[in-house]
Each structure stands twice: as C-alpha cells, then as structure tokens.
C-alpha cells in the first residue's frame, strides 16, 4: 500500500525485491570490493546487479549506471593496453608503473601516452570498483519505501533502539535540504556570502552561518518530533507491528542465489 520510496517518488511499475534481498545484494557488493574479485567476475556481478534495477522499471537510472560502468571498464582496458606496449612492463593501473611513466616523459609520445594511460587506469579502476556498491545502493535506496525498510528491520529482529534512529535520519534528510535552501535565501537577502563563489572564498565563515541555524532548527524540530512521536505511542513497550507486508518470494531467493554463485566462484578462483 505504501509505495513511496525513500528517495523521489516515481513510476513504480515492475518487479521489486524484498528489502532483505536488497540488503543481501548490498552485502554482496561490499564483499566484491573486499575480496578484490578479478575484472571478469566483477563485470558479471555488475550485470547481475543491474538486472533488478531494470526489472523495477528504473530504466534511466539503470542505463546511466550501466553506461558509466562499461565506459570505465573500457577505459581501464585501454589503459592496460597502452601501458603494456608503451612502457613495456608493469601491470595495468599499478602505482609503480605509473610513477615510472611519469619519470620518463621525455622518452617520447609513447611514454606520454603511457602516463595518460596510467592516470586513466588508476581513476577508472578506483571508481569502477565502487560501482557495484553504487548500483546496489541506488537500487535499494530508490525502490524501498521507509515503511518497507522499517518492516524489514523489525522482521530481522533489529532492536527498536536502532530502528528508530534510522527512521529519524530518513525523516531528517528532506528537512535539512529544505532548511539549507531557506538559510541560503536568508543569506542572499542579507548580502552575506551571496553569489556562487562566496562559499568557496570564505569556507569557514560560511559554514558557520549555515551550520548554526541548521542545528538550531534541528533542535526545535527534534523536540517537536519527539513530542509527536511520544503521543503516538513510539515509546510503548512490546512488539511494534508494520502495516506494510513484506514477503520473501521465489524470485528473491533466486536472485540471491544467482548473484551468490559467480561471486563464490570468483572468490574461489574457479572463474
């Protein structure tokens, strides 16, 4: 019933996973980063991670992330190629070979290309390795409503002392965005740190001007919220239920299994 996503509400056609399955995907993505799986395994995993995003009907988002990932992948492969036949040694993206390339700039265009290749390789590999986390994170964030998320946490027996702060944090994001806009307006009217570059020129002062009213308002809002929540029984002991029903269905299990398999194989060195 409640399908307002945490982020921006949008078209909600298509198939969506259970929040717990999403959390599992997020965990997998982090493991992927942790175990430094090789490029082939990573590409397969990314492709798998992108599928639920398309299944949920988030085409634009999915395409954007896919293009970004494969562009980075291509850049990385190119830099490998350039550095391999340019400097004649060193594995792609390694810092030492990049420094070598930097030292031998005078050797000619090949070496210059190698330098560019190294830098590009470094950047592309760095960002690319974050991509699985970004993709699963974007999926989890844009397709889960707060109530689903809270429900998932309660089902997983997460204590209320963790659930409630999470709810509050989610509740506060839009408030802070709104407050920030108001404060910037007020500063413009007063001629304080007006203009685009003022924030950059006087960072400390500007930060103070923004942070102090922001915190002041957060204090007021948090007290009002506590009052409202208390009168609605947030403090009641005993089990809290959820209106939203979440259920693990076959495709949740299937997705989890399908995504785990290549991961395990890659970590095991089979793939």
């Amino acid at each position: 019933m409640t399908d307002v996503p945490v982020g921006r509400s949008g078209p909600r056609a298509g198939l969506r996973l259970d929040p717990r399955a999403k959390l599992y995907l997020l965990l997998l993505a982090n493991l992927l980063l942790f175990f430094h799986v090789d490029t082939r395994g990573e590409a397969i995993m990314v492709a798998l991670f992108l599928l639920p995003l398309f299944a949920a009907g988030r085409w634009r988002n999915g395409l954007r992330l896919a293009v970004l990932y494969f562009a980075l992948l291509g850049l990385g492969l190119w830099s490998d190629a350039v550095t391999l036949d340019g400097a004649g040694g060193g594995s792609g993206g390694s810092l030492i070979s990049m420094m070598d390339g930097g030292a031998n700039v005078g050797d000619g265009t090949a070496a210059a290309w190698a330098t560019v290749g190294h830098v590009a390789g470094l950047l592309s590999v760095g960002i690319r390795m974050m991509m699985p986390c970004l993709i699963t994170g974007a999926y989890a964030f844009t397709t889960t409503s707060i109530s689903e998320f809270v429900c998932a946490m309660r089902r997983m027996r997460v204590p209320e002392m963790i659930v409630i702060p999470c709810m509050v944090v989610i509740r506060f994001f839009p408030t802070i965005a709104h407050d920030y806009r108001q404060i910037r307006n007020a500063m413009a009217l007063r001629g304080i740190a007006a203009g685009r570059f003022a924030l950059v020129r006087h960072p400390v002062q500007s930060l103070e001007f923004i942070i102090v009213p922001l915190l002041m308002n957060a204090t007021f809002v948090s007290r009002d919220l506590s009052v409202a929540a208390l009168t609605k029984g947030l403090g009641i002991a005993g089990e809290h239920t959820c209106m939203t029903v979440i259920r693990m269905r076959w495709f949740d299990w299937a997705t989890m299994a399908v995504c785990t398999a290549p991961m395990a194989l890659a970590i095991g060195g089979v793939l």
Binding site: M1, T2, D3, V4, V6, S9, S145, I146, S147, M167, I170, R171, P174, H178, D179, Q182, I183, N185, A186, M187, A188, L189, R190, G191, I192, A194, E208, F209, V212, P213, M216, N217, F220, V221, R223, D224, L225, S226, V227, A228, A229, L230, T231, K232, G233, L234, G235, I236, A237, G238, E239, H240, T241, C242, M243, T244, V245
Partner: protein, 664 residues
C-alpha cells in the same frame, strides 16, 4: 464512551480491549478532571520556551521570573462528548493544560506538579511522582494535534503516518490497513494517502494530523493551536473534521487564539489568564460577550464578519490600483491616507469601530515598539499611524522624496508569471507597491503567494514578465538588494553571535566599528567608513539632514558610527537591552523584530513579511501591526503575506487577493 462511533465498531473492539476504559462506567462522569493543579516548567527558555516559537514571548518571560507558574490552582472538569475551547493570551496556560491531558506533562516536560489530574479514568496525585500515569497508557485514549504542521510528522509519507500509532500498539497489519482506509474515508482524505508528507500544503498536513490523532479511536482529542498556519479554506476543512468528531461523541479540547473558525461547535469556553482559570462560559454566554470585552481580554474576534467586510472593501481598491490611476491621484496626499482609509472603511460596519478605537489606544499604550519607531527617521513623528511627512515636509527619506515628487512605485510588475519550471506556474495581475503603504497579500494555501514573494525579492527568476524597481527593469540580484523577506521561521535568518553584531553583519568592513564604544557622544565622523559601507551610508546621510531640525529629540542624534546607528535602530524597536544577547536566546517576537531591524540597517526598501502573526494572540497581533505601520512610516513598502483576517483588516491599506485575481 469506549466506542466513540458506531461506524468504527468493527475495529474498536481490539483497541479498547487493551485499554482500561473505566470512563465507560457512567456516561455523565467527567472524562477529564483537573483539580487544584499547579505546574511550573523547570527548563530554561531555550528548552521549553521555544516549544511553541510563536508563544515564546511568554515562555521567556516565564523563565526570567521563576516565580511565575505555568498553571496555578487550576480546576477544570470536562465531561464526555464536550467540545471545549481553552482561550486566553499567549502564555496563559492553555497549552500547558493540553499537555497535562495528553500526558506530556509530567512525562516529557518536567517540573513541579501539584494537584490531581484524571484523564479517562487514569491519573492520580500529581505531587506523588511515583504514581504518574505513563504517557504510553494514554496513547490509545488521547489523540493530539499540534500547532506546527511541519514538525508533527514522524514519518515521511502520509499512509505510514496514519499507520504509525497502530503499529506502535502492535495491531496486525491487515487491521492497520483497514483502519487507515476507514479513517481516510471518514474524513475524506483518501486523496492524501500514499504521498510524501513534504509535498502537502499546510492545510492538508493539519487534516492528516487530525486523522492520525484519531487512528486509535481515542475518547479525547486535544488540539494545540491547530489553525495557526492555516488559510480560511483549510480552517473550514478542520472545522468539518471537528464536527465529525463531535458527532461521534469524542471529547475535543482545543487551545486556540483564533476563536471564529469553530465557534458553532464549541459547547464551553474556558478562559485562562496568567495560569489560572479566569472564567468559564457556555457557548451562549460567550456569544453574548461584546467584542470589546474579548479584546480587553486579549482574545481574537469570535465573529469575523466585520473584518471580512473591511477586507472586501480594501480588496476593491486593489482592483483599481494596477493601472495606477487612483493611486496616482491619492498618493501625493497619500501619507495620512493609510490610517484614514482604515477609518473610512470601517465605521459603517457596526461593531468594528470599536476594535479600531482599541487599536489606537493599544498603539499608544502597550506598544512601545511602534510608538518609538518614529524617532529614528523623523524625531517629530510620535504617532505611527498618522504619517509625519505632512507635519514635517522636509522628510529626508529619499524614497519618500521620489515618492512624493515622481510618485514612482518602489516595485511594479508587468505581465508577471511566477513559478517553477515544471511544477507550478501562475500569472500575476500587475502589482504596484508604493512606499509608506502596507499591502496585504492574501489567498489560499498554494495560490502562489510565497512564490510571488520570492520572485519579488529576487530569490527566483520570473518565468515571464518584468519587475520594475523604481520604474526601471530590475534583475533578480538588484531585487535581492532592495527587498527583504521576514520568513515565517525567523530562526533561519539570524546568523551572528550577538544582537548588535547581527545588525552589522553584511555591512562590509564594519568589524572595527562594532567594537567602537557606543555612547561616545560625538565621535569624530569617520566619513570614509560610513560612505564606504554602502547600504548604511544612505541612512546616515538621512540622519545628517535631520540633525538641525530636531537637535535634542534623541540622545544619539549625531551619527558617529555604524555601531551607534545600530544601537539607535535597536532602541527604536526595544531591542537595545538585548544587544549583547545571542539572537537565538530571544523570544519569537524579539527575533522577528531583530530580523526587521537587520533589514532596516541594510537600507531595504521593500519589506515582505511571511505570516508574521501566525499563532499570535490579539495583543501581539496588534503589536506586529503597529510595527508594520512604523515600517511604512519610514517610507518602506510593506507587503504582508497573511491568512490573518484581523491583521489584514485592521492594519493593511489595501489587499491583493490572489484567489480573486484568477477570475479577473
């Protein structure tokens, strides 16, 4: 009593099963009994005092004199099914009573509490801390609606918010869904379900708040100033919701300044004064009270008809103004016009001449803010309502000069369309704002008032059309320099560490000037400094011209430094004693004044106020009105965005009604 309505009986069984519903035993037994109860907040004014920022005037006063009790020996009995209005001036204790009823006192707001309080059969001796009723046991019995629609939502989407109380008492999810659907149908808010709370208008938020408060089918609903941010339509919706609750036999307790919106539903009025019950009246008795009696008590009007008529008359003026014809003819004589216009419009309405008389006396007596506004610009003018330009033709204010001679409006719009690129678009009939004039901008929530105001202040670009500043097309940056917006939430607008620094902030290299001792009588004029700090120099030269006219009217007549000027402006708005205080430690009204003072210091010509009187009692509303008049008398163009019909009728010179313009 445990079954407030028959329509909801299928579900109410479960809730009342978990609830001790002793009140059901005899129908005439009181549902709320508060006897000999006294209470005092222990928090300082930065804690509780700002809980309701708009009534914080009192709260800080309360904190500074700890002897004051929030409640002293209050006796109050409310029977099941009654609809009771708690009224009285800000800080009279009515909000405190609502907090006693919903258990926030003593569970959340702490302090010494004496006497006995029973709510729905729960309660005991307040003096004995151990026997306090935990707030959790009151949750299913008492629903609460608070003043600020923005901050009473714990969830980010509407359906979750409705479900929230049910989830907390552990209802099964199917039942919660059924209950949400039932309550939404009952109040006709199905269209609000499944939306982000942040996209709702203020009125929609408050309707949702009432619906959320009734989710557990409570026997009592308390509302703490539920209408302070609402327009007339939203108040009518709220009225209908209260009527619905009353029909179902729910006891409704409303603490409110605005009395008119639900006058037909109220069974009993309880008037508080200084923390004690000053009188109880049946609806009939209260209706017979004279308007001036209510005003003497500091209450808002119970019958808005005369105010509406006055508004009507003033809105008529707005229809003529855009072409400039009538205004051009009127304005040269114009300065006294505002006040006279006010008088002309009203006496024909019976009963309204009285409020005006009171307005006048209040202006001179208990409104130091306004009466001392005069001296800063022209020391001669002691009467803020009658402009002193005619009395002193050499009025040195430059805007006024040009205004009198050329009759050039400060701001004029042509074929303006405001809005956001995709979300919202609104054509605005041409508007002309002159100096020395208070213009009210009215219209329902979402009519585009704030978008228009933001456009006029240059905070966003118009989608089409032009804005003329002194008859010359102006870019948004120029408008931002000329205009100032006093936001509804003033907390966003105060940046400095002390009140005095707040004024000097943004005036360029004023840093060393701040530290200059203030009461040096005639410091050597550092002319370079005063002229370099552009915004203020204008005001300085004004004072120079004035010096020989009125040499001894104010002690700080000779302008030496920005610091002195700041102090003078502060004094004129009664803020000088607080010059060293941190802005955030001020009360709501003082913060509002400080924001206005900062606008004056910056030499702004157009001052826009967004809902300056929301949640204010009559006296404070009149104070704000007098303040507006003081600004106008300085030659500023004052634009007030407001839903407050009393403020608009009593203090605005003309009204721009965005709702009406749609047809025109």
């Amino acid at each position: 009593m445990s079954e407030p309505s028959s329509t909801m009986s299928p579900r109410s069984g479960e809730t009342s099963g978990t609830i001790p519903s002793r009140a059901a035993s005899s129908p005439s037994a009181p549902i709320i009994t508060i006897s000999d109860t006294s209470f005092q907040y222990t928090h300082d004014d930065t804690g509780v005092g700002a809980a309701n920022p708009t009534v914080a005037d009192f709260a800080s006063g309360n904190a500074t004199s700890p002897a004051d009790l929030a409640l002293s020996h209050v006796n109050l009995v409310i029977r099941p099914g009654e609809t009771v209005m708690l009224c009285g001036q800000s800080g009279c204790g009515k909000t405190t009573v609502t907090r006693l009823v919903n258990g926030l006192i003593p569970n959340f707001f702490h302090g010494p509490l004496t006497g006995t309080q029973f709510v729905c059969g729960l309660g005991g001796d307040g003096a004995n801390g151990a026997e306090n009723v935990p707030i959790e046991s009151l949750v299913p019995l008492v629903g609460s609606v608070f003043q600020n629609p923005k901050t009473q939502y714990f969830n980010a989407d509407t359906t979750s918010e409705l479900a929230f109380p049910c989830e907390n008492i552990g209802m099964p999810s199917a039942d919660i869904r059924a209950r949400v659907a039932e309550v939404a149908r009952r109040f006709g808010i199905e269209h609000l379900l499944d939306r982000s709370v942040f996209t709702l208008s203020g009125g929609e938020k408050q309707r949702l708040a009432v619906a959320a408060a009734t989710m557990l089918h409570p026997q009592v609903i308390v509302m703490d100033e539920p209408t302070s941010n609402l327009d007339a339509t939203a108040m009518r919706d709220l009225h209908n919701m209260v009527a619905e609750l009353k029909r179902d036999g729910v006891t409704v307790v409303i603490a409110e300044h605005r009395l008119a919106w639900c006058a037909d539903l109220i069974d009993r009025y309880v008037r508080f004064d200084g923390g004690a019950v000053a009188g109880e009246y049946t609806a009939a008795e209260f209706g017979k009270l004279l308007a001036e009696q209510l005003e003497a008590w500091g209450l808002r009007a119970i019958d808005l008809a005369p105010y509406r008529a006055a508004l009507q008359a003033k809105t008529g003026v707005a229809g003529i103004v855009p072409d400039g014809g009538e205004m051009a003819e009127r304005t040269p004589v114009g300065h006294p016009l505002p006040a006279h216009d006010l008088n002309d419009g009203l006496p024909s309405e019976q009963g309204t001449s009285q409020p005006l008389a009171i307005a006048k006396t209040e202006t001179s007596s208990d409104m130091p803010a306004a009466s001392s506004v005069g001296p800063v610009i022209d020391s001669a003018g002691r009467h803020p309502s009658v402009a002193s330009v005619l009395a002193d033709p050499s009025e040195p204010q430059t805007e006024c000069q040009s205004f009198v001679i050329g009759n050039v409006p400060i701001i004029a719009t042509h074929d303006l369309t405001v809005g956001y690129r995709r979300a919202f678009r609104r054509d605005i009939a041409d508007i002309t704002l002159y100096g020395s004039e208070i213009v009210g901008l009215m219209g329902r929530n979402g009519a585009g008032k704030s978008t228009l105001v933001r456009t006029l202040c240059g905070l966003q670009r118009p989608l089409a059309g032009r804005i003329l500043l002194h008859d010359a097309p102006a870019r948004p940056t120029a408008l931002t320099r000329a205009g100032f917006l006093v936001m509804q939430d003033v907390n966003y607008q105060l940046f400095a560490d002390s009140v005095r620094e707040e004024l000097l902030l943004g005036l360029g290299d004023a840093d060393d000037v701040i530290r200059q001792p203030v009461d040096v009588p005639i410091a050597p004029l550092n002319a370079a400094q005063s002229s370099s700090s552009g915004a203020a120099s204008h005001g300085m030269s004004v004072r120079d011209g004035n010096t020989d006219v009125q040499p001894s009217a104010t002690p700080y007549l000779h302008p030496a430094t920005l610091g002195e000027q700041a102090d003078r402006v502060l004094e004129s708005l009664d803020l000088l004693p607080f010059a060293e205080r941190h802005p955030m430690s001020l009360s709501g009204g003082q913060k509002q004044r400080l924001a206005i003072v900062s606008a004056i210091m910056c030499g702004k010509e157009l001052i826009v106020l967004d809902e300056p009187t929301s949640g204010l009692d009559r006296a404070h509303m009149m104070q704000v009105g007098a303040l507006l008049r003081g600004l106008a008398d300085r030659g500023k163009a004052v634009l007030v965005v407001t839903h407050d019909e009393e403020l608009a009728a009593l203090w605005c010179d003309r009204i721009i009604d965005l709702d009406r313009e749609v047809g025109a």
